[in-house]
């Protein structure tokens, strides 16, 4: 078990600067998820930790050793690949034993470890099969088993669930979480799926264009996004954004655009004051909108026209037109809204977020 430190980590290909000044401290026993859209540099970062990509600049430390110049084999890591990377010519047992065999472990020790891992993953009956005789989920377990038997200091996961169907993915997600609770091995996990990131990570690192956007615990990213990108990336359906101008009236600040006038809550007024007369981005999550009742203050209400109704059972998603934008509201399943209905929606004042239009940073 070990911590992993990345200092000023950079990766440049001929024309692409894939990873830019990444600083990250993965603590001992921690499960850290790197998440971001494709091309954000998350996989490249992981592969630099593994030693599969050369480091252009910066430093990676695993435990207390700088590993920049160590070959992958000596970094004491085990990696699980998206396509499982199982050897088609070997049985499940041989696949799981592969790393230990290459490292010349004694046979009884290999057998013991493979048995142990197979039990943990519930794949004892599959040991004599070849990978092509397994289902996707079973292959995934074998790939994880191959990593477990090595007892590495750090697990590296590169989108391990992306090739599974949706139902299996949810199931394996839970199993991976349990596995981590049990083994307590430091893990770095790469995914493009924010739900996977939120459910698995002790901490989540959001990346975009090679830069780290924000590092934080899942709920912290959700409630306090550092910038517009994180706000839009974390949460599903995504946060709604509207272009508004900041105006002062009656001793308060207001976010305005034709068809919309919302009062800025006192908690943010201090910071928003600097933007008086300028345009900013107003953000509100679908779940922070509801159909207005008499008790909602008129200062936080907007008129909306229903454009799409998505009844999901436990909730209803309404695509509504507010001012000039179409936004999504997640409302109670008892709401009986029809196409083209006019609704009055109320916003939760404390959940309003404001972003600088130029820097996109949270205000």
């Amino acid at each position: 078990m070990a911590q992993v430190m990345m200092k000023e980590l950079n990766k440049k290909y001929d024309e692409v600067h894939a990873v830019k000044d990444v600083n990250l401290h993965v603590r001992d026993k921690e499960f850290v998820v790197l998440v971001g859209p494709s091309g954000c540099g998350k996989s490249t970062t992981l592969r630099m930790v593994a030693g599969l990509e050369e480091i252009t600049a910066g430093e990676i430390t695993i435990g207390d050793r700088v590993v920049n110049d160590l070959p992958p084999k000596d970094r004491d890591i085990a990696m699980v690949f998206q396509n499982y990377a199982l050897y088609p010519h070997m049985t499940v047992y041989d696949n799981m034993a592969f790393g230990l065999k290459m490292r010349k472990f004694p046979k009884p020790e290999i057998a013991k470890r493979v048995q142990e891992a197979a039990e943990i993953l519930g794949i004892q009956e599959l040991l004599k099969r070849k990978p092509r005789q397994l289902s996707g989920g079973q292959r995934q377990r074998v790939a994880v088993g191959r990593a477990i038997v090595r007892h590495p200091q750090v697990f590296l996961f590169d989108e391990p669930l992306s090739n599974l169907d949706a139902k299996l993915r949810v199931q394996m997600r839970v199993e991976l979480k349990r596995l981590h609770d049990r083994l307590e091995t430091t893990a770095i996990y790469v995914t493009h799926d924010q739900v996977e990131a939120m459910t698995l990570g002790d901490r989540v690192v959001v990346m975009k264009d090679g830069w780290i956007q924000q590092v934080g615990e899942p709920l912290e990213l959700y409630s306090k996004p550092a910038n517009r990108f994180v706000a839009g990336f974390i949460g599903s359906p995504a946060m709604n954004f509207m272009d508004v101008s900041v105006a002062e009236a009656n001793g308060a600040l207001w976010a305005e655009t034709p068809g919309l006038r919302v009062k800025a809550p006192a908690s943010i007024a201090g910071r928003l004051g600097a933007y008086k007369g300028q345009r900013v981005t107003l953000g509100i999550r679908p779940e922070d909108l509801h159909v207005a009742t008499g008790s909602d203050s008129a200062d936080y209400c907007v008129e909306a026209v229903v454009e799409v109704v998505e009844p999901l059972g436990s909730e209803i998603l309404l695509d509504v037109k507010v001012a000039q934008s179409v936004i999504v509201a997640r409302v109670d399943p008892t709401v009986r809204a029809k196409l083209h209905d006019k609704l009055r929606l109320a916003l939760l004042p404390e959940q309003l977020r404001f972003f600088d239009n130029k820097t996109e940073l949270a205000i």
Binding site: A50, G51, L52, P71, P72, K73, D74, I77, A78, M79, F81, Q82, N83, A85, Y87, P88, H89, F98, G99, M102, R103, K128, R129, K130, R132, Q133
Partner: protein, 298 residues
């Protein structure tokens, strides 16, 4: 229901045969008929030099072959030729493929250099090789090549240098092809399988032996198959490089000589047919490696 389905099935099968008919006709006329004719001829004394019709002579042609030292010599030369060229082509081709599988500066140029021998027309290449190995006397290195020829012919017998040049030409051209074939094979293997091995071992040799070779097995088998069968049935390379002045005949050239130069169709057919069991054996042995059995005991 069942009757209707079976009627539909019959119709499908009929249609399938109808669609296959042109191919079958082509195969029958271009493959089955000549082979059948050759087998028949091998049992006769058919010859353009003989008056009257061909007579059935049974196994006489085969019997004569077995007692003919020329046949045994040609067979030995063919086996030596096939083995030397196949081993060398496989080693070189694999080396080329491994070299080209990794990106490096100037890779495109190296790829071209390696692929040109195969892409270039054989006839033109042969002339280049001929002039390189037997340069006109005014060429600066002509004396050196002359010495080499004398040295090789002096040690191994007249014609050895010519035979060596055939082997070299075959290797030069064939390793180019096998290199590209194996490169395609390596590229078809997901890179994670190699990366996974990289995480577990520093030794290139161990990774090569335990991962690369087994993963490439179907491609290696195909390469060996093409190389061996090509060499066993070779006629063109040997004929072109030596302009028919053959001192080291292989089965192919010997059969050609018997049939076209000596007009002995019967013995020539018998001789050519002796290759069939060898080619079939090679095919059957390697077939198991192309596509390993799907169903393992569980």
């Amino acid at each position: 229901m069942a009757a209707a389905r079976s009627a539909g099935r019959t119709r499908d099968i009929r249609l399938a045969y109808l669609l296959l008919a042109p191919t079958l006709l082509l195969l029958l006329t271009t493959l089955a008929y000549p082979i059948g004719w050759e087998i028949w001829t091998s049992f006769t004394d058919l010859s353009p030099l003989k008056d009257g019709s061909a007579e059935f002579v049974g196994l006489t042609n085969y019997g004569r072959l077995l007692g003919d030292p020329e046949f045994w010599r040609a067979a030995l030369v063919t086996v030596v030729y096939a083995i030397i060229t196949s081993v060398a082509k496989l080693a070189l081709g694999l080396g080329f493929a491994l070299l080209l599988a990794r990106p490096f500066r100037g890779r495109a140029l190296v790829f071209l250099a390696i692929f040109i021998p195969w892409a270039y027309p054989a006839g033109v290449s042969v002339i280049g090789w001929y002039w390189t190995l037997s340069p006109p006397t005014t060429t600066a290195y002509a004396p050196a090549m002359g010495h080499l020829k004398h040295l090789v012919d002096g040690t191994l017998g007249t014609g050895a240098w010519a035979f060596t040049s055939i082997i070299l030409f075959n290797i030069w051209r064939g390793s180019s092809f096998i290199g590209v074939l194996l490169l395609a094979g390596i590229n078809a293997i997901p890179p994670e399988l190699f990366e996974c091995a990289l995480l577990e071992s520093k030794s290139r040799w161990r990774r090569f032996r335990l991962v690369t070779v087994p993963l490439l097995r179907p491609f290696l088998a195909l390469a060996v198959f093409l190389s061996l069968t090509g060499a066993f049935a070779d006629l063109a390379n040997v004929w072109m490089l030596t302009a028919g002045r053959i001192v080291f005949p292989v089965i192919g050239t010997h059969a050609y000589f018997l049939a076209v130069k000596a007009g002995q169709y019967g013995p020539a057919s018998a001789l050519a047919l002796t290759l069939v069991p060898f080619l079939l054996t090679i095919l059957l042995v390697l077939f198991r490696l192309f596509d390993p059995p799907r169903r393992e005991a569980t």
